[in-house]
Amino acid sequence: MALAEIRALTKSFKKGGETVVPLDGVDLDIEKGDFISMMGPSGTGKSTLLNAVAGIDRPDSGTITVGGTEVTKLSRSKLADWRAEHLGYIFQTHNLVPVLTAYENIELPTLLVSMSKAERRERVELALEAVSLTDRADHYPRQLSGGQEQRVGIARAIVMNPTLVVGDEPTGSLDAATSVQIQELLVRLNEELGMTILMVTHDAEVANLATRRLRLEGGKLIELNGRAANTGNGRKAITAG
């Protein structure tokens, strides 16, 4: 059984009097340790799919099961609990809480589950270490560079060692040099810490880092070759439709 199973996922909405169907019966299996990038033209529903997997948006129909939990059936509060324990979300713009230090921002998810102070401190310190920001723990977001802020955002996403990390264009708001740092960090999280990552990106270079590359077009997912199987010409449709 895959770590995450998405089945017949459909989502539509009205736009200017017309019905747009960004997700039209999408199927996807995510295996543990996968690093999946998802590309596609703007407005095709990449973020919609990501948000549905993250449990912050409801699909019209279909099911999403992550780690044995059917998240599409959970109530708002239960979904929040599930996200706190099993999901890490990396935003395009870091979205740090400005009044909290880097340490406190990373600590936030740990406050949502029962654990000792010592364990909480250890987790935050490990997360800081993973993003190489131990020396910036006491800095406020305004005292950090864009790249550092994004690394704090990533540390916050991984501090609970989540079942699945989702990223909505995590390098989208960064300059080229900083983007490279974040790309390297994401690869390291996947390779060294074994984190399962589903990431939306517009950047082909970033997408190529993934072990599996997907493209969303016309409400369907198409699988391209990824980093691990870089043969360059394979296109495999995995949507049902």
Binding site: N51, A80, R83, A84, Y89, F91, N95, V97, L111
Partner: protein
């Protein structure tokens, strides 16, 4: 439960000016609320309780101002014989102002021995013997002493009346602490009063089982044949009647207190709404990382509660301090209402501030907790 407390406190601190101004508004409103409450409590204390119900005031019929009521002093002997009357104390009243005033000074002239026996005064400075032996001495209520900055040995003059402070007293009846007591003769012979053998009123103290209204009626009937007709009422009723104009005003003022609470509610609710609107995205981020909608609700309510409580506690404490140290009183026709702080008033102020804070936060908190996360995250 309090794991997010730093987040709440830092959030308020981040918008320091807004927090300060809102808490300041709450403080001012609660200050006024407590002040109005103190006046109402003072009136309540004055017109109810043992002293107000078990003491009768015999006043000249159809007279209201103490300067116009002139009863023979020897009425006391007649009143004393009425069944149910335990003791009678003739009192000469002199005031610097018969109209409503915030700085009214009222002298009561009475027998020092009877004063000591009937009024339950507790001297905090000075001594009874000086008061009893020195003709022009006076006992000053603690409130009056504070307001006029008087101490034992000071000479205290108002108009033609000049006395030396022999003692400062506290009383179980707060309004008494606005009075100055002299001997009866001293006040009767004050220049311009010309009241030898006359008094303003008689205070009749009742036996334990006597019915006040029956005794009052009996006193008036007994004195009806005398040279001056009387009206006898319970002390509380007499004081309420004397202060009737002020009672109406004070009754109206309690709406002012409610208006202040409404003002705080609106002010804090507005601030909380602004804070929530500023942080729609932040609340969505919190929910994305796993904060339950219910916790977001509580976080927002906590902010409004903290602002309101901080302002309310400051306003209430300042009001209590001013009431305690200001020695303020309002009075008319020689009767005064003491503005005194009380524990119940302080607690009421703080509870009202807390409830207002909770109430003010409910609607913004509801909106924050029900935010569509995706739409909020997409906000610029």
């Amino acid at each position: 439960m309090f794991s997010f407390a730093p987040y709440v406190v830092k959030g308020l601190w981040r918008h320091g000016m807004r927090t300060f101004l809102t808490a300041g508004g709450a403080a001012v409103a609660l200050f006024v609320f407590c002040f109005v409450g103190a006046v109402q409590e003072g009136l309540e204390r004055l017109t109810s309780g043992g002293d107000a119900d078990r003491t009768l005031i015999v006043f000249q019929e159809n007279r209201f101002c103490p300067t116009s009521s002139r009863l023979p002093q020897d009425y006391a002997d007649t009143i004393r014989k009425v069944p149910g009357v335990k003791d009678v104390m003739p009192v000469q009243v002199w005031t610097n102002n018969c109209r409503a005033s915030l700085d009214i000074v009222v002298f009561n002239g009475a027998s020092p021995a009877q004063l000591r026996k009937n009024r339950g005064l507790m001297l905090t400075a000075g001594d009874w013997s000086t008061f009893e032996s020195r003709h022009d001495s006076a006992l000053i209520g603690a409130n009056l002493a504070r307001r006029r900055r008087l101490a034992v040995g000071d000479t205290f003059s108002i108009g033609d009346l000049s006395t030396q402070v022999a003692g400062v007293f506290e009383s179980p009846v707060a309004a008494e602490e606005n009075l100055a007591y002299t001997s009866l003769e001293f006040l009767q012979y004050t220049r311009g009063l010309d009241a030898a053998g006359l008094v303003t009123m008689h205070e009749a103290y009742l036996d334990e089982n006597a019915d006040p209204d029956t005794v009052a009626k009996a006193i008036d009937e007994t004195l009806a044949a005398g040279p001056v007709a009387t009206t006898t009422r319970r002390k509380g009723a007499f004081q309420a009647s004397t202060l009737s104009d002020l009672v109406d005003l004070i009754g109206f003022a309690h709406w002012l207190g409610y208006a202040c609470v409404g003002l705080v509610l609106t002010l804090v609710a507005t601030t909380t709404v602004m804070a929530v609107q500023d942080r729609v995205k932040e609340h969505a981020v919190l929910q994305t990382i796993g904060v339950r909608p219910g916790r977001v609700f509580r976080l927002v309510v906590s902010e409004s509660l903290l602002i309101c409580l901080a302002g309310g506690v400051v306003g209430t404490l300042v009001a209590l301090a001013v009431l305690a140290w200001g020695g303020l009183a309002v009075g008319a026709e020689g009767v005064t209402i003491a503005f005194q702080p009380s524990v119940s008033l302080g607690l009421t102020g703080i509870v009202i501030a807390a409830l207002t804070g909770l109430l003010a936060g409910i609607i913004p908190a509801w909106h924050a907790s029900r935010t569509n996360i995706v739409l909020a995250l997409n906000q610029a």
